[in-house]
């Protein structure tokens, strides 16, 4: 069994699987159930100042289903905790005392006033929690009150509030970033400049999941109206991977501890984020889809995979994929692959042919051989785009490397590039 313990920005946990700040971490009851199930840490659902009430509506969730796969993406319009601050603080203190080995991070969101932050930081520090996460990402409801994404989208605010938190407490500070920005590096650099111990990303993506065509309103529909909400779940994972990768390879933010969030549903997803440098991973949608038990597979799946790969501890593979994330112009122009159909496994659905024929390079022929349908790659037409491999429902198309004898040559060196820097 590999050592799954991890440390992100000074916050330690027995495994890299945390529950993200969200409905599953709203109160002692849920959090204790999560710890019992095996989760390494939780980020308590965002606390706000003890002032204007937070009131939620019903309904609160919209979802995208694909085929029989329920909740490919989930959208919510829930706000931060609507429970009294003192109740939350009391529970946090108790839970931390009862579960000392687990990470307990408290998510915070108060107005951009130093006094407000000073007040809540003191109260939270008193719980002896392991750290705080600054919710600069929530895209709905709270942003209209000048908090959440309204802060996260202004790098100066990100830096300022992060600095207040570092100045006025001794707790590790994770800055949770909103993806609803043009360039994730800007708020990430601000978080670092403000002294943040790490970043958590991504928060939810601004979205409308669907329009109810009977009601003619967005879903979730609240009495005939709907609004944009925060999108998460498997659908957003590719965006989250990209943003984590950008932070991991940026000269300024490289090495900044990351707690990755975004569609993480199983150990493999988690391993991918760790390979991009994440120290912990946060889960919400998958837990809201299947319950807390999924962590069992996450733990033994990751452990078994690490054992097979010879990784004894998380840091052994953490960030290993980062050097291989590069810019397009650094890709090898001379690398050549072509599709290959494993005829014995082909069920003759013809999808590879029709998508190549209609939308790509006319590189898969459709014939009848002795009356049987036969699909064959035309090597000289195949550009190795992979489309056929992705549409094949039987997974019987692989990409074969063509040994063309050519050396590595990227676009900056390619003579076909008018701005090529290739040596004469």
């Amino acid at each position: 069994m590999a050592d799954l313990s991890t440390n992100v920005g000074g916050i330690k946990s027995p495994n890299p699987f945390w529950l993200a700040s969200a409905p599953p971490t709203d109160k002692e009851y849920n959090v204790v159930r999560a710890y019992k199930a095996g989760w390494g840490g939780v980020v308590w659902k965002t606390l706000g100042e003890d002032g204007p009430p937070v009131v939620n509506v019903s309904s609160r969730y919209g979802a995208v289903h694909i085929g029989e796969q329920r909740i490919f993406g989930l959208n919510n319009i829930e706000l931060i905790t609507d429970r009294p601050l003192d109740v939350n603080l009391r529970e946090i203190k108790k839970v931390k005392k009862d579960w000392p080995d687990r990470a307990l991070v408290v998510s915070l969101m108060v107005p951009c006033e130093e006094e407000a932050w000073i007040k809540i930081l003191k109260e939270v520090e008193d719980t002896e929690c392991d750290g705080i996460e600054l919710n600069f990402g929530c895209p709905h409801g709270m942003s209209e009150r000048g908090m959440g994404a309204a802060v996260g989208q202004v790098p100066e605010y990100v830096e300022m509030v992060t600095r207040w938190c570092k100045n006025h407490s001794n707790m590790p500070v994770l800055v949770k970033l909103t993806p609803n920005v043009t360039n994730i590096l800007t708020p990430a650099r601000a978080a670092k400049a403000g002294g943040g111990d790490g970043v958590s990303l991504i928060n939810t993506v601004n979205s409308i999941t669907s329009i109810d065509l009977d009601v003619m309103a967005p879903t979730p529909t609240v009495d005939g109206k709907g609004t944009h909400g925060g999108y998460c779940g498997p659908a957003v994972k590719p965006m989250a991977l990209h943003m984590c990768a950008e932070i991991a390879r940026d000269a300024e933010t490289r090495g900044l501890p990351m707690s990755a969030i975004g569609g993480i549903s199983n150990w493999r997803d988690a391993a991918e984020f760790i390979a991009l440098g994440a120290g912990t991973t946060q889960v919400c949608t998958a837990a809201m889809h299947y319950g807390f038990k999924i962590v069992e597979d996450m733990i033994d799946g990751l452990s078994d995979w690490m054992d097979q790969k010879g990784y004894a501890k998380i840091s052994d593979f953490q960030g290993l994929a980062v050097p291989n994330v590069t810019d397009w112009q650094k890709l090898n122009m001379n690398y050549e692959i072509v599709a290959e159909i494993e005829q014995a496994k082909c069920v003759k659905c013809g999808l590879c042919h029709i998508v190549c024929e209609d939308t790509s390079h006319q590189a898969i022929s459709a014939d009848r051989v002795k009356g049987e349908r036969h699909y064959e790659v035309i090597d000289k037409e195949c550009v190795g785009c992979n489309l056929c491999m992705h549409v094949c429902p039987e997974n019987c198309i692989t990409m074969r490397k063509v040994d063309n004898g050519k050396d590595y040559l990227n676009w900056t060196q390619d003579p076909r590039n008018p701005f090529s820097t290739a040596a004469e």
Binding site: G67, V347, K348, G350, E394
Partner: protein, 449 residues
């Protein structure tokens, strides 16, 4: 040894009968249909489409179900097969579209095309939609003989083209075998008549029930009074066993019994033997055997002269018979009938085998079974007698000869369905009617600009 025949109605309570003759397959719920439709790969050059005698765009209609467009799916089906609702219930899909579904290869389980087809056609009927319009009247008149699948498919297409169609049907109700010849549990909720009503609702078709060709109208008359004639006569005769004693009251034709059962207002009024033998290996034999069992027969034995592979009944039908408690005895042929009217009969069978020359021969071994009711289901034959009188189309190999366009040897007479050479399936009959209608339309349009 003479025992009196034990044939009685009401062997089961009304509740048991209602359950036994309800839908063989419950209709899919919307969610089930969506899930199943999502299994379809939407193949290019789809094998299922090619396997369908009416070339229904199966991937196209299944995709429509998956997108929540079930009425569009229904229309896609009906565009190719106006009797798609019946075919969804009775087509031997395991030998047609579902047999070639590519998901047999990977999952070993085809997409359940028939059930999806039913879902879609039900959706369209339930919505009360009429997707077709009739073109302006051409003033041309076409006679269709037989309101079965071939005739009604032909009539519908001709009516859409604006021709006036009169359908002559010998029976009191329209639908042909859909109404009279299929097991009740396959065609519940009066679907055959709902389908006929739907076909008629396009307009331009009138049906004259109770008008039989040969007795009430002649082919010569029809040819004189119409611009074209389509013959969808079906099979009017039943093959006989050719044994002495075949005329005793215990020995009946399975098709007549099925028809009686289908037309009964109250299934508890349909008499059934305590011990039943069905002779034959096709779907009609299974329909008779299973229905007899479900009516309350104690023992039902289906005897077929060859093995399971040669049975005309599909594997699904054979399984259905066996799971309903029908005993199937392969490799035996009837050789004698002992009994008289009013008595049970002792049927004697000789076991059979394939000789070295590949021909079926008796082994000399025999056995007998006593039964109160014996159903003959050894095939039907085309009866050419209604064609007689004047000019009759050429009949070859026991069926009316037609060319590719379903034209007979007479210049304005077309034919299709079971009365011509082919698969003797509802779906092939529909295709014949469709093709004949196109040929007739082409012919009638000649000269018109």
């Amino acid at each position: 040894m003479t025992q009196s025949r034990d044939v009685a109605a009401g062997r089961c309570t009304a509740n048991v009968l209602a359950e036994a003759f309800s839908d063989l397959h419950a209709p899919l719920t919307d969610q089930q249909a969506y899930n199943e439709a999502s299994r379809c790969f939407y193949c290019h050059d789809a094998p299922c489409l090619e396997a369908c005698p009416t070339s229904i765009d199966i991937p196209g209609f299944i995709r429509r179900i998956a997108t929540g467009n079930s009425t569009g799916a229904g229309k896609t089906i009906l565009d190719s097969n106006i009797m798609g609702a019946t075919c969804a219930r009775v087509c031997p899909v395991e030998e047609l579209c579902e047999e070639v579904c590519v998901r047999n290869t990977g999952d070993h389980k085809p997409v359940t095309i028939a059930q999806l087809q039913r879902h879609a056609t039900d959706a369209l009927f339930d919505a009360g939609m009429q997707p077709y319009t009739r073109a302006a009247s051409t003033g041309k008149k076409v006679a269709v003989v037989g309101a079965g699948p071939a005739g009604m498919a032909c009539a519908h297409r001709l009516a859409r083209y604006g021709h006036d169609v009169v359908v002559y049907e010998a029976k009191a109700k329209s639908g042909g075998l859909n109404e009279y010849g299929l097991a009740a549990y396959k065609m519940p909720d009066n679907i055959a008549q709902r389908e006929i009503d739907f076909i008629l609702s396009v307009g331009g078709i009138s049906i004259e029930n109770g008008k039989a060709l040969g007795s009430d109208v002649t082919l010569d008359q029809l040819r004189n009074d119409h611009d074209a004639v389509f013959l969808g006569l079906g099979l009017g005769a039943v093959n006989a066993l050719g044994l002495d004693g075949e005329d005793v009251d215990a020995v009946e034709d399975a098709v007549d019994y099925i028809s009686e059962l289908r037309q009964a207002d109250d299934l508890a009024s349909v008499p059934v033997g305590r011990r039943v033998i069905v002779i034959g290996g096709g779907n009609t034999a299974v329909d008779a055997a299973v229905q007899a069992k479900r009516l309350g027969a104690e023992d039902v034995t289906l005897v077929y002269r060859r093995g399971p592979e040669q049975m005309g009944a599909t594997g699904f039908e054979q399984d259905l018979a066996q799971t309903n408690g029908v005993v199937i005895r392969h490799w035996a042929k009837p050789v004698g009938i002992k009994g008289q009217n009013g008595s049970a009969v002792e049927m004697e069978f000789e076991t059979t085998e394939l000789g070295d020359d590949g021909r079926l021969t008796g082994t000399g071994q025999s056995f007998s079974i006593t039964a109160d009711q014996v159903f003959k289901a050894i095939g039907q034959a085309f009866d050419p007698s209604p064609l007689g009188g004047g000019d009759a189309p050429e009949v070859k190999g026991g069926r009316i000869s037609v060319n590719e366009g379903r034209l007979t040897s007479l210049d304005n007479v077309y034919a299709g369905g079971d009365c011509v050479e082919g698969q003797d399936l509802t779906v092939s009959a529909v295709e014949d009617g469709k093709i004949a209608a196109e040929s007739i339309h082409l012919k009638l349009s000649e000269g018109a600009s």
